[in-house]
């Protein structure tokens, strides 16, 4: 932990020298190696793993995770956490689902905008409580996790949206392949590129790191800490809203338990991808690799015929291994530098 101490800080990473930058690079190398080992090992057991079709499937599976994990990453970089993403996805998916069901003629693009708008409202509610209400993020989003999930039940009265109730265009939104790749994968790539640019090349993006690394220094440097914090929760809502529409479209349904427990997967993808839970450290490529690792684990466990009942345990174990080995690498690097 001492390595990630905010005093080392991102400002040095802008000039691309300093210990931290090397470490951040090293971290991605670490997780890449882990992925490679896993790929080789699984391919030896099940040759069908390393095929284009299978990887298409993996990418399709991790698109939503990647989108929300990127949002989660921005929140974690400010030394916060957003546990309510799963409930936001559930609520927005349900609302959009019902509206699409009532108005099948609605343009698909409009449903996306609607979902993002609804998500933004939910996210900014989190942001308001956290910044102006001064409630610690973990409490605030734990609260809205159950509030939003309760609203899903209240909204739907326990009913759900079935596949046949959704128009075909809406269902194709995620799976259609007009550009060669499924739309959902393209959307995820676009989001990743935008977030990458935003975090690394815009002033606000750099401010997010500054707030997470050292809130006091950021404030003294004239950064409006409250605004930045509010903004990350707003973005988290916005991307969750987008993910919700994709979710409803991909699984062709909206249920009361849509995305239940998903928040922990997004945190897992971020953390496995090298985002420091104490703030200030994290990269877009790292998180994408983290999501990819989770996706590969899930996929390969099925392929090498591990009983589905043991899959969750294997996932949990691999997450622990990834985090522990990351820590081990870090301490080795620290020692050689010292």
């Amino acid at each position: 932990m001492t390595v990630q101490n905010p005093s080392a800080v991102q400002s040095s990473s802008v000039s691309q020298n300093g210990l931290l930058w090397t470490l951040v690079r090293f971290r991605e190398a670490g997780i890449s190696i882990f992925i490679l080992i896993l790929v080789v090992a699984v391919t030896l057991r099940a040759p069908s793993f390393l095929t284009i079709d299978n990887f298409k499937e993996i990418f399709l599976n991790i698109s939503i995770l990647a989108i929300v994990a990127l949002a989660q990453t921005m929140v974690i970089i400010t030394h916060g956490i957003d546990l309510s993403v799963s409930s936001m996805i559930g609520l927005v998916a349900m609302m959009v689902g019902f509206i699409v069901k009532q108005n099948p003629e609605m343009p698909v693009l409009f449903t996306v905008v609607l979902g993002m708008a609804l998500g933004t409202v939910l996210g900014s509610f989190n942001g308001l409580i956290i910044t102006y209400g001064r409630v610690p993020p973990i409490i605030a989003t734990l609260g809205t996790l159950s509030v939003y999930r309760g609203l899903v039940f209240y909204y739907s009265q326990g009913t759900w949206i079935n596949s046949f109730e959704l128009p075909k265009n809406f269902k194709l939104l995620s799976k259609g392949t007009p550009l060669g790749l499924p739309n959902m994968v393209i959307i995820a790539i676009v989001v990743a590129v935008v977030v990458y640019y935003f975090l690394n090349y815009t002033r606000t993006g750099r401010d997010i790191f500054a707030v997470g690394s050292n809130p006091d220094a950021a404030q003294f440097a004239g950064i409006r800490k409250q605004r930045i914090t509010f903004l990350v929760y707003l973005i988290s809502g916005l991307l969750s809203g987008l993910a919700a529409v994709l979710w409803a479209s991909r699984f062709e349904s909206a249920q009361t338990n849509t995305a239940l427990g998903f928040e922990l997967q997004t945190v897992a993808a971020s953390v496995v991808g090298g985002v420091s839970i104490s703030g200030g450290v994290g990269t877009v490529p790292g998180v994408l690799l983290g999501a990819l690792l989770l996706g590969i684990i899930q996929n390969s466990l099925t392929l090498i015929r591990i009983s589905p009942f043991w899959q969750l345990a294997a996932q949990g174990l691999l997450i622990l291994i990834a985090v522990i080995s990351d820590k081990w690498i870090l301490s080795r690097v620290e020692r050689t530098k010292a």
Binding site: L118, I138, G150, D216, A268
Partner: protein, 375 residues
């Protein structure tokens, strides 16, 4: 977590990120009085709304519904006071209950199976403790990993099977009453445990160390306190209590499925935080946590009598959790704003924000209308 503690310290001395609430709370005397007031208010409202609320038999029976949360809450108070967290309790509970169920299905004597379940749960807590205290990984990350790991093992043990047919002596732990009274066994167990945990927290050096770690881990370490060993102990304890709670829940249901107790960790943390324990560590009392458990229990029971669905009850509990921290903070902000001129711009922004939320609510109810109509 160490780096976090350092920054937290800095931020409170320079610009307070989360203002110290003690000063405001002291006006209320203590947080506990506030909870007592809320409990009385809740009892008053509920007795008005339902004639079945103040029924001793009802209350006794419903109280056992919250004892698993209560048992897991006790070590969680310790953990959160040191500024850490344990997200894996409910999964650990599922793992140990499933292990007991599996052994029972295989024909092992139920007491041996129960003992094995408790041992496995304790071992799970030990793993958490090792990773947090020795490997020095952040508690949130570790317990997030074991959250999936333990629950996965539970599924691995039982798969789509359920364990049932427990003997009467075993189900007594969940369903039985202390002889001659209405008090369920689990409630009696919780009360005894709560007193023990409370005494340890408030009357022993070990308890003082917990607060000390929560306030400033580095300073505590340099004072010669075995911080790592203490963390080790509380996480192992948490695993033990989770296993115990798992057995009681299994005994109460009379059967075990691998998804037993899913999501309870959030209820546990809610109870602790609503009880006035600071999530950043260093503050809180066992009495507060116990009172907040009572409050949540009574509220849920009251809403249940009014036929409000469990998930919708979550809205109220979630809002209560947020408001319990929001209101003191806002009151303080308002009192500190008194001397500052309110600017036109900020009024405009507030009105705009309010308009957005009202628009959202209108849309919510408008779009919901056909849902209720059965469209």
């Amino acid at each position: 977590m160490k780096a976090q503690a350092v920054t937290d310290l800095k931020s409170t001395t320079l610009i307070s990120e989360y203002p110290p609430r003690r000063s405001f709370l002291s006006k209320f005397q203590r947080w506990e009085w506030m909870l007592v007031g809320l409990i009385l208010l809740d009892v008053f409202i509920n007795t008005r709304l339902s004639p079945f609320f103040l029924d001793a038999r009802n209350l006794a029976r419903t109280s056992s519904d919250f004892m698993e949360i209560g048992l897991m809450m006790l070590p969680m108070v310790f953990i959160i006071i040191t500024g850490n967290i344990d997200l894996s309790v409910a999964s650990n509970m599922g793992m140990s209950a499933s292990f007991t169920g599996l052994l029972h299905n295989l024909g092992v004597n139920i007491w041996v199976a129960a003992l094995a379940g408790v041992l496995l749960g304790t071992l799970g807590g030990f793993l958490n403790g090792y990773l947090v205290a020795r490997v020095k990984l952040p508690a949130l990350v570790v317990t997030l990993g074991t959250y999936a790991f333990f629950r996965g093992i539970a599924y691995g043990f039982l798969g789509d099977q359920a364990a049932r047919g427990y003997p009467k002596e075993f189900t007594y732990f969940g369903q039985g009453k202390v002889f001659g009274t209405l008090v369920p066994f689990s409630v009696a167990l919780f009360i005894v445990m709560a007193i023990v945990f409370g005494l340890v927290l408030h009357r022993t050096t070990f308890g003082r160390y917990l607060y000390s770690i929560g306030n400033n881990e580095n300073a505590t370490l340099y004072s010669g306190v075995p911080v790592a060993r203490i963390k080790f102990v509380i996480y192992t304890l948490s695993g033990f209590m989770a296993a115990l709670a798992g057995l009681i829940l299994a005994a109460r249901f009379g059967s075990t499925r691998p998804d037993i107790g899913t999501g309870l960790e959030l209820s546990v943390i809610t109870a602790v935080v609503l009880g006035g324990v600071d999530i950043n560590g260093g503050k809180g009392t066992m009495l507060g946590a116990a009172l907040s458990l009572l409050l949540i229990g009574l509220m849920r029971f009251g809403m249940g009598l009014l036929n409000i669905q469990g998930q919708v009850q979550g809205i109220v509990i979630g809002l209560l959790l947020i408001l319990s921290i929001l209101l003191p903070g806002v009151a303080q902000q308002i009192s500190s704003l008194r001397n500052i001129r309110v600017q036109g711009q900020s009024i405009l922004i507030s009105v705009g924000v309010l308009a957005v939320f009202i628009a959202f609510l209108l849309f919510f109810f408008w779009s919901r209308a056909p849902v209720i109509a059965g469209g």
